[in-house]
C-alpha cells in the first residue's frame, strides 16, 4: 500500500478529450456532407443562417432540458413554459406598455418562478418529475390562454422587440456575417450553461444529484435546495427561449408550445446525455439540436414529400444515436 507496492497505474493511451469531442460531430458532419452533395442550395449562407435560426429556440430549450436531465429528472413543461414566458412578456410590454427591459426581465422571471414551483413540487412533495412537469405543462398551457385572452399578443408597440432574435449585432459590425441575434443568444446561453455545469457548485451538484441523490444527501448537502435551484435555472432559460420565439414571430402565440418538449428532449438524448442522469454535455445537446434542424431543413430543400420526411427523420435519429454508441464503444 505504500508507494513501493502500489504499482504505477498502467493507463492505456487515452484518446484526447478534444478528439473525442470532434468525433461526436461525425453524425452532424455526415448529414451536412450528404445534403451539400445532394443540393447546391444547401450550403448557401442564407440557408445556413436559416438552419441556425431554426435551431435557436429548440437549442435553448434543449439546453434547459439538459440541466434537468443530468439530475436524473425530466421536464415536459419546457415548451408550454416557453410560451407562458412569451405571453408574460406580451402582457408586460403590450398590455401594460412597459419598456422593453422590463418585459425581458419579466419573461425570464416568469420562468424562474415556474421553475421554483416545479422544483419545490419535485423536491419537497416528492412528486416524480415526469408527473410534476406534466402537470406544469398543462397548467402553463392553460394559463397562457387565460392571461392572453386566447389571442396572440403582438409586439407592434415595442419596436426593438423583433431585434432580440431577428436583428443582427454582428451583421451591423461585419456586414458579411449577418448572424441573427437569436443564434448569438443560443451560443451565449450554451457557453454560460457549459460554464455553469463544469465550473460552478450548481453544476457539480447537478451531476452529483443525477449520479446518486441519496449519497449526496448523506454527504450533508441540502439536496432539496439544489434541486430546486436546478429547475429554477433551467426554467429561466426557458424564459429566454420564450423571448426568442416571441421575437421571431413578433407575437406571443398562446396555443403554441406543446410538443416542443419532445424535440428538446430528443436533442438532449441525441447529444449523448443519458436520461438516467449523471452525465451529459451542453455541446452534445447543441449538436443534437443541430442534427434535428439540419435534417428538417435538408429534407425540405431536397423536396422530399412530407410523409417521407418523417420516416427518414425517425430512421436517422435512431442511426445517429447508434453511431454514437458504436463510437463510444470503440474508444
Amino acid at each position: 500500500m505504500t508507494d513501493a507496492t502500489a504499482p504505477a497505474v498502467r493507463s492505456s493511451p487515452r484518446v484526447s478529450g478534444a478528439f473525442h469531442r470532434l468525433l461526436a460531430f461525425s453524425g452532424l458532419i455526415a448529414l451536412v456532407i450528404v445534403f451539400s452533395l445532394a443540393s447546391p442550395n444547401f450550403m448557401q449562407t442564407q440557408n445556413i443562417l436559416a438552419i441556425l435560426q431554426a435551431t435557436s429556440v429548440n437549442g435553448v430549450l434543449a439546453i434547459a432540458a439538459t440541466l434537468v436531465i443530468i439530475t436524473g429528472g425530466i421536464d415536459l413543461s419546457v415548451g408550454t413554459l416557453m410560451t407562458f414566458c412569451a405571453v408574460v412578456a406580451g402582457v408586460v410590454l403590450t398590455f401594460w406598455g412597459l419598456p422593453l427591459p422590463v418585459g425581458i426581465v419579466a419573461a425570464i422571471l416568469a420562468g424562474t418562478v415556474s421553475g421554483l414551483v416545479s422544483g419545490t413540487v419535485i423536491a419537497k412533495l416528492k412528486v416524480p418529475p415526469f408527473i410534476a412537469t406534466l402537470g406544469m405543462m398543462l397548467i402553463l398551457k392553460g394559463l397562457s390562454l387565460v392571461i392572453s385572452g386566447t389571442k396572440p399578443i403582438y409586439f407592434n408597440d415595442t419596436p426593438g422587440f423583433t431585434q432580440i432574435a431577428q436583428g443582427s449585432f454582428i451583421g451591423a459590425i461585419l456586414p458579411a456575417l449577418p448572424i441573427p441575434n437569436g443564434v448569438v443568444i443560443l451560443f451565449a446561453v450554451a457557453l454560460i450553461a457549459a460554464f455553469v455545469l463544469s465550473r460552478t457548485a450548481l453544476g457539480r451538484y447537478t451531476f452529483a444529484l443525477g449520479s446518486n441523490e441519496e449519497a449526496v444527501r448523506l454527504s450533508g448537502v441540502n439536496v432539496d435546495r439544489w434541486k430546486i435551484a436546478v429547475y429554477a435555472t433551467s426554467s429561466s432559460i426557458c424564459g429566454i427561449a420564450g423571448l426568442l420565439i416571441a421575437s421571431r414571430l413578433n407575437s406571443a402565440q398562446p396555443a403554441l408550445g406543446q410538443g416542443y418538449e419532445l424535440d428538446a428532449i430528443a436533442a438532449v438524448v441525441i447529444g449523448g446525455t443519458s436520461l438516467s442522469g449523471g452525465r451529459g454535455t451542453v455541446l452534445g445537446t447543441l449538436i443534437g439540436a443541430l442534427i434535428i434542424s439540419v435534417l428538417a431543413n435538408g429534407l425540405r430543400i431536397l423536396s422530399v414529400p412530407q410523409e417521407w420526411q418523417t420516416v427518414v427523420t425517425g430512421t436517422i435519429i435512431i442511426l445517429a444515436v447508434y453511431a454514437d454508441i458504436l463510437r463510444r464503444r470503440s474508444l
Binding site: 508507494d3 504499482p7 449519497a215 444527501r217 449523471g278
Partner: protein
Amino acid sequence: MTGIDKSFPGVRALSQARFQLLPGEVHALMGENGAGKSTLMKILSGVYQRDAGTILLDGRPSEIASPREAQDRGIGIIHQELALMRDLTAAQNIFIGREPRRFGILDERALNRDAQAIFDSMNLRLDPTVVVESLTIAKQQMVEIAKALSYRSRVLIMDEPTAALNDAEIAELFAIINRLKAEGVGIVYISHKMDEIKRISDRVTVMRDGEYVGTVPAAETPIETIISMMVGRTLGSETFVVPNTADAPVALEVRNLNRGREIRDVSFSVRQGEILGFAGLMGAGRTEVARAIFGADRRESGEIWVHGKRVGISTPRDAVASGIGYLSEDRKLFGLATGLDVRNNIALPSLERFTGPGGILNDAAMRDAARGYIRQLSIKTPSETQEARLLSGGNQQKVVIAKWLLRDCDILIFDEPTRGIDVGAKTEIYKLLNTLAAQGKAIIVISSELPEVLRLSHRIAVMCEGRLTGFLPGGTSQEEIMRLATQREPSMQVRHAG
C-alpha cells in the same frame, strides 16, 4: 486458466494471470484490492471475455461466452457486488431463469417451496416471499448464496461472501462449504478475512497487480507469508495502546434515542480521542442508531448533544454542520456518487470550501486535496478523474473515508469501515483511525467482525434488538461481547457509562 490478459479502458486488470482448481478443494484466491481477483473470476463465469489466454475445463480448452454457458458447464458464482433484482422476492431471485412451471404458467407455490427447502438446508430463517429490497445486506447476501447453491454447480466461485455476514452466519456458510466439498464441488473462495482462509481453504493462490504470484498449501503456510506474497513485503503487526481518555471532554452524547422497534431508548456518549466500538448481531440496530444520529432517518425521540450543546439534527446536513461524518455500510447505495469521479466524490461534502465568488469552483484546489488523500490512503486509481464506479470495492471504500477526512469532522461514525478491504488496507485504516483519535476526534466504529472491534475500540457498546445491553472495556473477550449481544434485556451495567 493460464496466460489470462484483460484490459479495461485506462486499466490493465490482468496480465498473464493463472489459476487452477481441483474437484473437491476449497481454493482461496487472495490479493489486495484491485489485484484482479474479481475480474479473473468474472472471466471464468462468462461475464467478461478475456483478451488472451486459455481456459481448460476437465483438461479441454473451453470458451465461456456468457453467464448462461458458464452455468451450463457447471460454473456458479456469487458476485462480490450483490446482483439481486430488488423488486423481486427472495424465491423469485433464486430461480430467475429457471422458474418451475405448470402448463406454461409459473408455479409460485413450487417456487416458494423449493426456495424454502434451500433455506432450510442452510439453516436460514427467511421468508421466501419477502421482497429482497426490504432485507438487510446480510440477508441479501444469504439469498445470493442460496441462489448459487440452487444451481448445484461443479465449480462454485464465492467472491467475498462473508463481507456482510456475522460470525454465526459465517459458521453456517462454512458448514455448507464443507458439505459441498465432500460432494466433490470445487470452490473458489475470495476473502480479505485472513482467519477464514486458514479455517476453510486447502490451497491459496495469491495475485498482485493482475499477475500470478504463487500457489501454496493453506495449512502449512503461515499467514504472514501469504500477506507478504500479497503486498510484496512484510507488515508489522502493530498493537495499539489504549490511551486514557477518561477525562477528555465529551464530544457526542446521545440521550434516550428511540425509533420504533429498531432503536429502543439508546443513550451513550463518546469522548474526544475515544474510539467507541459498536458490537452486536445482524439486525441489532447499530446501523439504525448511526443513521438516526446522523439525521438520515427520522427519530421518534431523543436528544443529541455535541460538545456539551444540544443540537437539533433532522437532516444529514444538520449533522455535518455539527461536525458529524457518517460512513455508510452500503457504499454503492449511500456512500458514493458512482457516476462522479474520485475527486468530486471526495470533495462532495466540502464543496462549499472550494466555492469561490459567483459559485465558481476552485478545481485546482480540489484536485490537490483529492490527490493528497489518494496518496495518503493509497487509493488505487489511474487518476483523480477516474469514475468512482470503476474502482475496485476496497478502493471505493477508501474514497468514502477520504471524503469525511477532507470534511474534517470532529465526530466520525464508521459503519463497517473495512468491509471488503484487504489486509494491507485494513491495517492502514486501523492506523488511520488511531491517528484520528489521537488528534482528538471522537470515533464510533460499527463492525460485525469481533476481532476488529476488540482490536480498535477503547470501549465497546453492545446492542441487541434495538437496545444497548451494556458497555465493555477495550480489552474484553469475544465471549463477553456475545453474552451481551444475545441478552434481551439491558444489563445491570451503568446505562450512561462513559
